[in-house]
Symmetry: C2
Subunit: 661 residues, 2 copies
Amino acid sequence: MGLNSNRVENFSDPEAPPPPPAIEATSVIQMPPVEVHRVCLPPLKTTAQKLRHRLSEIFFPDDPLHKFKDQSWLQKLVLGLQFFFPIFHWAPNYTLSLFKSDVVSGVTIASLAIPQGISYAKLANLPPIIGLYSSFVPPLIYSVLGSSRHLAVGPVSIASLVMGTMLSETVSYNDEPVLYLKLAFTATFFAGVFQASLGFLRLGFVIDFLSKATLVGFMAGAAVIVSLQQLKGLLGIVHFTTKMQLVPVLSSAFHQVDEWSWQTIVMGVGFLALLLITRLISIRKPKLFWVSAAAPLASVILSTILVVCFKSKLHGIKTIGNLPKGLNPPSSNMLYFDGPHLALAIKTGIITGILSLTEGIAVVRTFASLKNYQVDGNKEMVAIGLMNMAGSCSSCYVTTGSFSRSAVNYNAGAKTVVSNIVMAAAVLVTLLFLMPLFYYTPNLILAAIIITAVVGLIDYQAAYKLWKVDKLDFLACLCSFFGVLFISVPLGLAIAVGVSVFKILLHVTRPNTAVLGNIPRTQIYQNLTQYREAVRVPSFLIMAVEAPIYFANSTYLQERILRWIREEEEWLASNNRSNLKCVILDMTAVTAIDTSGIDTISELRKMLEKRSLKLVLANPVGSVMEKLHESHILESFGLEGLYLSVGEAIADISSAWKSQP
Amino acid sequence: MGLNSNRVENFSDPEAPPPPPAIEATSVIQMPPVEVHRVCLPPLKTTAQKLRHRLSEIFFPDDPLHKFKDQSWLQKLVLGLQFFFPIFHWAPNYTLSLFKSDVVSGVTIASLAIPQGISYAKLANLPPIIGLYSSFVPPLIYSVLGSSRHLAVGPVSIASLVMGTMLSETVSYNDEPVLYLKLAFTATFFAGVFQASLGFLRLGFVIDFLSKATLVGFMAGAAVIVSLQQLKGLLGIVHFTTKMQLVPVLSSAFHQVDEWSWQTIVMGVGFLALLLITRLISIRKPKLFWVSAAAPLASVILSTILVVCFKSKLHGIKTIGNLPKGLNPPSSNMLYFDGPHLALAIKTGIITGILSLTEGIAVVRTFASLKNYQVDGNKEMVAIGLMNMAGSCSSCYVTTGSFSRSAVNYNAGAKTVVSNIVMAAAVLVTLLFLMPLFYYTPNLILAAIIITAVVGLIDYQAAYKLWKVDKLDFLACLCSFFGVLFISVPLGLAIAVGVSVFKILLHVTRPNTAVLGNIPRTQIYQNLTQYREAVRVPSFLIMAVEAPIYFANSTYLQERILRWIREEEEWLASNNRSNLKCVILDMTAVTAIDTSGIDTISELRKMLEKRSLKLVLANPVGSVMEKLHESHILESFGLEGLYLSVGEAIADISSAWKSQP
């Protein structure tokens, strides 16, 4: 056992030569029957070094500045410019053929963005023109700051819906239009500030807490609510609830039967069917993506012509009416920084900000991975945030990258963000010259466009997969779905995030423990229930704890381990096997330990000692080893209490037993 | 490779014979160069079976009913009686020698419990007699229901303090004594209901979330506040704040200098010094525990005699005054179930309930582990809860097992809960006959007793150990200390619990990843930074992820793994080494995976494939394997993407490369 005398070793001095491997020592003394390796401590670090390492892992996991290393000052300046303004990165290599692709895709998404912009503004209870403004300035800002090549920027349904709901609960656009507009711009401003600071402070991981399961449920719930709300436009109802829960919306639709207009219903349902069919075609044959991309604008034109032609007969149909010509007016004077509704504006800003950020970043990541280029999520957040801050000063409301339009952009062959510039140019032309054409566009077509857009958000296949693979994920999904449907958007989201976090805590509070056995003729020890070929090692109980040992589970683990031992002893006694003599805890999956955990291990050792059982730890990872060492618990374990692997522990302890029977 | 064709295998039918071990197959065909084992799925279970297993792990980890298995009906009845009333367990074997020990220890704790009971009631702003009532009924109830042999039941400082603070913020005892009493009894009732239901629903793990670090800080903060509040008694101040924050208490003490009474100060400081010295003696020499145990009662007697003898000269000293003789009056008619303060009573009940439960269970566990007997935490919670519910109907306020008195009980040689019965008997005698003796007991002695008791709660050594071992634990400790001191008890606790939970989430959000190397001449692969002797395997990058892969970390892990690969490739290129060809993910410590994690693995595989790198998983644990299988991701990995150990993966892949150069 002379080999073990220095088994815990520190590499405090990085300059010192590495210690001779254990193998050499054995060859000098005499080959012992069992080769035993030392469990090492990780290199010693000061608290400041540890803190620095930890912070860099938390805030800079992707090491965004690695390109700047070992570069001259000039190169660093160029790289810095390219870092902050990606346009400098791609503009020098921009070619005519790239431009041709971008023009085609830009025009395609413009034909989608114009009707959707008008519709989504209605969804946020804002005047339709705000939707067009929001499709003009933000794409231009993004094209300078953004690094995604396929993101199509503009208003999106979820953020519009949430902003509309949250503001309308307190202020009605019909009663106080100026205050409502002020609040909308202020919420947009705070959304931008929140997004930019998340990115700037590199706290982007906050949006990861909206798990996919939560989002699937949330989006489906929002889509159902939004679609039902469109009954207002499709049925031609004038007095409709501004609430967003399922019950008031449905009762509002069916209590106002006298306001239903049959002309609106016939025309609305017709166009809705048309749009849904084009959507189906594009899903079935992805090459025909332009069918669904062109359909909204075509429907708008067609329905406007219909209304103009049959003006006298279709008097029941409500139209958009007069839209002001001209570019975005400045709105920085409308930002609202003190007054009774400031808290509402900030809250709305943060919630729409986080939702639009989630959508935008998901789009960016999806297309980056499809085309295999790298994007920095935190930098994108800054870009989206600055774009919203600029938008709030130029009569725009919250914008982000839209999933549906970005997919069209990608399919139409977009190569760079220039497609956004082309789209903005098309919107510019519309704003300057084509506004009067929308005078007779019926509201019902906007409702049909919204429904067609949000139907895609109901992803029942993803929900089914959640059910198949992970029941607790499915529960989170259901919670956010029903929460949004019956309570409210912020509460539904909060409940779903709560369920997701609870799932993590539950995993930590009640971790899995397993009894291991040896796979014959190997040094591999595996779970006995998972591997039938694994066999128990007589006199040993080998246990694996599959979680960090924390205050939240230390009591549980102690009870559970004692129960395993009790059950093992009962089984051995009833089968007339040899007594249990040693318990090995495989610590490979114990990725962290805190002070409560250390106390538990130490107490467990004492309890087992009283029952003349030996407790041995196998393969503690670096950080756990460090804490065990710092708490001086290793001294009580002695030299023979710590092994590098289960195999070595068993070999060494068995040989020690044999030599002293 | 014929061996691998069925590497993923299901043991769906528990009756089927186990599959032939891999070894046999090889001996029949032909010994291949590398022996490769299959990664198995755990036995297939239905959703209901999984749910049942999961629920039994959550609620019955200690399998409390295992004694009932395979017993006759009569035995089950006896065991059931013993289970619910532990008195049936020990009473049949009770002997005279046990009784002698219990009488000695019972009398000892009574001498401590009587002065402490009166003092703690003052701390809760209740009449002193309530403290004596609370030392009579609850110990009797506990002696029937409880299974700890050393718990000394009665009022405790922390719960008294918290109840006093929370109730006094809304209702003043001096202005509305009956309402205050009603609220105190009602809060006690709800504390009991909450405690009993936690135990009954087997949700005892809720108290584990008050980690040791949180409690160390909280207790120290509470002790500081309580001690400063006793300046009222020690200085003889009449008009004192009822607030509990540091600033108002200190300013109240030093703004009422004209109310200070020198006689009170001299006598108070003298007795405080005496009590602190006896405390020190008992700490230095544990055998002299009776010195500090007897000191409070001795001081009470001595100070009362002093006041009686020098009545004329000591008129500045306030005394307890008249206490009613007689047993606990019933108080069930004083419970308050509707009215404006019900919410306050419930909130106070829950917070004092959880705090007193935490103390009581910690005491139970400490002494059970010292004397090596088993206690069921959840059953103890039911006992403490029922005792408080009964207490609330007999003029008692919140009680639990006191740490200091239980330690004295243990040191005085208590053998069973009979010592509680003896103590209750002593209190009974006091209540019936000795109450007039307390008429001249000065209030200052109560203040001195409280300070001496709470000084022990300041555990600076534990705080120093937290700082040494775990900086985040220390932060939680500081948060609860300063939160209690400057904000309020519930908020301080909430902040500390938040920090503790944040620590868990941070560990999951930013898990450790490590690059592994082979320890020469073994099949062990270990962290390269921890083990200097470990060497890289050419053409392979072996990585270990030390956390479950969840929505909260899947993006981070993807970025971090890609960065490891990029850094490895840069290093290889700059050192003219052979190219990277294969990335092995050691999944041993990946104890769980959710749908986002599965997507990440699948996306990572696709991304690496585009860069012609092979991704291989080694040793996924049972639950992860199950999810990978259910999500059909294994099919995309193919037969060669999954190995039982890193060693087998390297051996098999290398030999495949050699055979097809």
